[in-house]
């Protein structure tokens, strides 16, 4: 049966079909749905690890034990896992090991758009680049076979456009499967799985030879293919870029690479010789182009006309072709944009009811001068209006280390680090231990919304539930912080505006090492969140002071009614959006915001 599957769903399917028996991941857009989907198949184990390095280490252990395995992460997650990745290339694998790197060309929801194909060359392992969901499904199996044949880790790289696009895949319902224990583990006489210097030195030349052999394999691998057409122009392309190429350059010859490393150089050279002009169309870095040029193959056009930055689109590929004077159809005329009225921007915002709101409201109104180091999560939106309460943000778990460094270097202001529960487990514990050890008076606010929220509500070590829905031990954040020797530790109700403010004031005044406040309140999207009666504004009591607008809730709108004395708009609450969290009601100086009587009576 033909079914529309996203690239991520197809990878999950492919992994299950190819016999992956254990997979580990840390959620991150655009990779998250891979493990969420894989977790639903029978006869496998799928887990959220605390971070990407743990996920890869889990997979390495499984592979060394003999299992087919997969580690999944977004592109920047591979940076976290890189330490183990570089060395598992040296040891080699036992059971097939695929690392899925979901890159984010376009930086739709990431801090950069790094091109992880570079990791393949850096780490000397192959990289597969599917162009649609069907290929994504198939390539997982091809990658696992190759991984076992050459005992190499293999990267399967997607970009957001592949991960989150749906195309038809031929699938049948999954059949029953039992989880199989591994065969008895044998200790090696001559160690290869223990990467001591002597092993590394011996393995390095073998890795170089392995890469040469894989390049040989690539020459005849079906994943690399030529679609012959008009030979006046030959296009080398890879991954999702193929989809734009086949439309824009319809009728010309295309060499479609299914893997970007190592390249089938003989095949490419033959292709180059048989076309009048060779161009390379690839997303982000000139990864293939540079390799072709280094091999002495003439490339007429590549990154000189096709952009290096952002994701490719039909329009960008067409524009590049037009710029290079290549024979393609012109850019279609479009309807002109609207300029007679101004179209306001629609920035993302903390959701109605969000447990981060009272904290950022307080943080944005600090009288004491503070420097705020942020972290990766929904609370990154603290940088946006109306809060604008964030001064630095660089990567997962970095807030605590940055706040500490700022302070130790002589920073005059109080340094506040804001970090989420999942991010704390990911990479916030080590910098906190370091700050305790080096005794800085920083304030750390752990915004514990009881879930990994930004990526769509995934479980983590603090939630008491696993990816596959089992109940498990909940790691107690407050206890962890206390055990590290932090002398000021306080839990506070996320929606209690006054209590959050008071705790923040105390914590930023604390002078005996790091002060940690754990702001606790469940994300509105999880069952633990209990909506209260929705709120409404009593118009007669509203004095249009605008304070409730400052809490930045999408449910609070400007009313058409104005307060006579000032002519300013009063507030009104959208009943479709309100969850009754009461943060706005708490900041209202005239008690004009009250629960809707109908909800109250209905027992909501």
């Amino acid at each position: 049966m033909k079914q529309l599957l996203s690239g991520n769903e197809a990878i999950a399917r492919g992994a299950w079909e190819a016999g992956v028996q254990y997979a580990s991941a840390y959620p991150g857009t655009p990779s998250t749905e891979i493990l969420e989907n894989f977790a639903r198949y029978p006869g496998i184990r799928a887990e959220w690890a605390a971070n990407e390095k743990v996920a890869l280490d889990n997979a390495i252990g499984a592979s060394f034990g003999g299992a087919r395995t997969m580690a999944v992460m977004k592109h920047v997650g591979v940076n976290v896992a890189a330490d183990s990745l570089m060395s598992v290339s040296y040891t080699g694998v036992f059971g097939g090991l695929v690392l899925v790197s979901a890159d984010d060309a376009g930086a739709f929801s990431s801090q950069n758009e790094q091109d992880n194909r570079n990791y393949a060359r850096f780490g000397k392992f192959p990289c597969f680049d599917p162009a649609d969901s069907e290929e994504a499904r198939q390539y997982v199996g091809v990658a696992l076979d190759l991984s076992e044949q050459f005992r190499t880790p293999v990267m399967l790289r997607t970009t957001t456009r592949l991960s989150h696009s749906k195309s038809a895949v031929e699938v049948s319902p999954p059949t029953a499967r039992e989880f199989k224990p591994l065969p008895p583990f044998k200790r090696e006489k001559e160690v290869t799985r223990v990467i001591i210097p002597a092993v590394a030195r011996k393995r390095h030349p073998e890795i170089e030879e392995r890469l040469r052999q894989i390049a040989e394999w690539a020459e005849t691998a079906p994943v690399n293919r030529i679609e012959w057409g008009d030979r006046r122009l030959g296009i080398v392309t890879v991954g999702i870029a193929y989809q734009y190429v086949r439309e824009v350059f319809e009728g010309f010859s295309i060499l479609k690479l299914g893997m970007s490393y190592p390249l089938p150089m003989k095949m490419l050279r033959d292709f180059a010789e048989q076309v009048e002009q060779l161009i390379v169309v690839e997303e982000l870095d000139p990864f293939v182009e540079d390799q072709l040029k280094a091999a002495g193959i003439a490339v007429a056009h590549g990154k000189d006309v096709f952009p290096m930055c952002g994701e490719l689109t039909l329009a960008k590929v067409r524009a590049g072709a037009v710029k290079a004077g290549l024979p393609v159809a012109p850019i279609p005329p479009a309807v002109p944009p609207i300029d007679e009225v101004e179209i306001p921007a629609r920035p993302p915002a903390l959701c109605p009811g969000c447990p981060h709101r009272a904290f950022f409201y307080n943080l944005s109104r600090q009288k004491r001068k503070v420097m705020i180091a942020g972290d990766i999560g929904c609370y990154s939106m603290g940088v946006l209006p109306p809060f604008q309460a964030m001064d630095m943000l660089i990567s997962m778990g970095a807030s605590i280390g940055m706040a500490h460094g700022f302070k130790q270097a002589g920073g005059q202001e109080r340094a506040v680090a804001t970090i989420g529960d999942s991010t704390f487990f990911h990479s916030g514990m080590a910098p906190l231990a370091s700050a305790v050890y080096n005794r800085s008076n920083i304030t750390v606010a752990i915004l514990d919304n009881r879930i990994t929220a930004m990526t769509g509500q995934q479980e983590n070590p603090g939630t008491g539930r696993t990816l596959q829905g089992e109940e498990t031990q909940e790691v107690d954040i407050t206890a962890v912080v206390k055990a590290m020797g932090v002398k000021y530790v306080k839990e506070v109700d996320a929606w209690d505006v006054e209590a959050v403010g008071k705790t923040l004031k105390e914590a930023t005044a604390f002078e005996d090492g790091p002060a940690v406040m754990v702001v606790k309140g469940a994300c509105v999207f999880i069952p633990e969140y209990k909506p209260l009666p929705r709120l409404e504004v009593i118009a007669d009591k509203c004095i249009a002071c605008g304070l409730c607008f400052k809490v930045g809730c999408p449910a609070i709108l400007k009313s058409e009614e104005v307060f006579e004395k000032t002519g300013k708009p009063k507030a009104v609450i959208d009943p479709l959006l309100c969850t009754g969290c009461t943060v706005c009601a708490q900041v209202c100086p005239t008690d004009a915001i009250v629960p809707m009587e109908s909800d109250y009576m209905a027992g909501r």
């Binding site: 529309l4 279609p332 101004e342 306001p344 920035p347 993302p348 605008g546 607008f549 930045g552 479709l576």
Partner: protein
């Protein structure tokens, strides 16, 4: 409108059901015996931001996203978003717009003003070959649940394309939980009636 090669762009605000609706529209393409692809941008956009989803039908679909100037039907779940995305429409293309207005944070914090409804609709009329405006939220309420709003909009869309309505209804019912089947059936009928009025 003929359907052998059709580009649709679904736009709206996070939480409106844009992605589900575009999923269903892509499935309808497959059910009609065509190839179909769909592509969405979400992530940060889920938090009340702009959501866009491309749906393409053809005998063989290449790129999963449309090109600016090639969108046959712009399906906007919110009035302002129709205006924001209008320049993706091909000359002579059609706009299906839900006239619901959702205030963006830039407006509620006072940095911007939500444009006048009539001015927006006129600006759309000036540019599109045809504008089909539907006030889907009250229709969904009438059907029995505001959650059927995307069914109302899909129903309006279905009236513009040379497709059997049963194919749409079937695709919708396959996607929604069984207990919402009846309200969606009603919403589909009311949506078609509203668009044909």
């Amino acid at each position: 409108m003929t359907i052998e090669r059709l580009n649709m762009l679904f736009v709206g605000v996070g939480g409106q059901g844009v992605l589900t609706a575009s999923d269903i529209a892509a499935q309808v393409g497959l059910d009609l015996g065509l190839d179909a692809k769909k592509s969405e941008v979400h992530g940060f956009a889920q938090r009340g931001g702009v959501v866009e989803s491309h749906v393409r039908w053809a005998p063989v679909v290449g790129a999963p996203i449309c090109e600016k100037g090639t969108v046959d039907v712009l399906v906007a779940f919110e009035l302002l978003e129709a205006a924001r995305w209008i320049d993706w429409l091909r000359v002579g293309g059609t706009v299906v717009v839900n006239t619901q207005q959702i205030t963006p944070m830039s407006v509620s914090v006072g940095d911007a003003v939500y444009p006048d409804r009539e001015a927006l609709l006129e600006a759309l009329e000036r540019r599109a070959g045809r504008v089909v405006a539907v006030d889907a939220l009250p229709i969904a309420e009438e059907a029995g649940s505001t959650r059927t709003m995307n069914t109302v909009i899909l129903a309006a869309l279905s009236t513009l394309l040379e497709t059997p309505p049963e194919v749409w209804e079937r695709a919708i019912l396959r996607r929604v939980p069984a207990k919402y089947g009846e309200v969606n059936r009603v919403a589909f009928r009311l949506g078609r009636e509203a668009a044909q009025r």
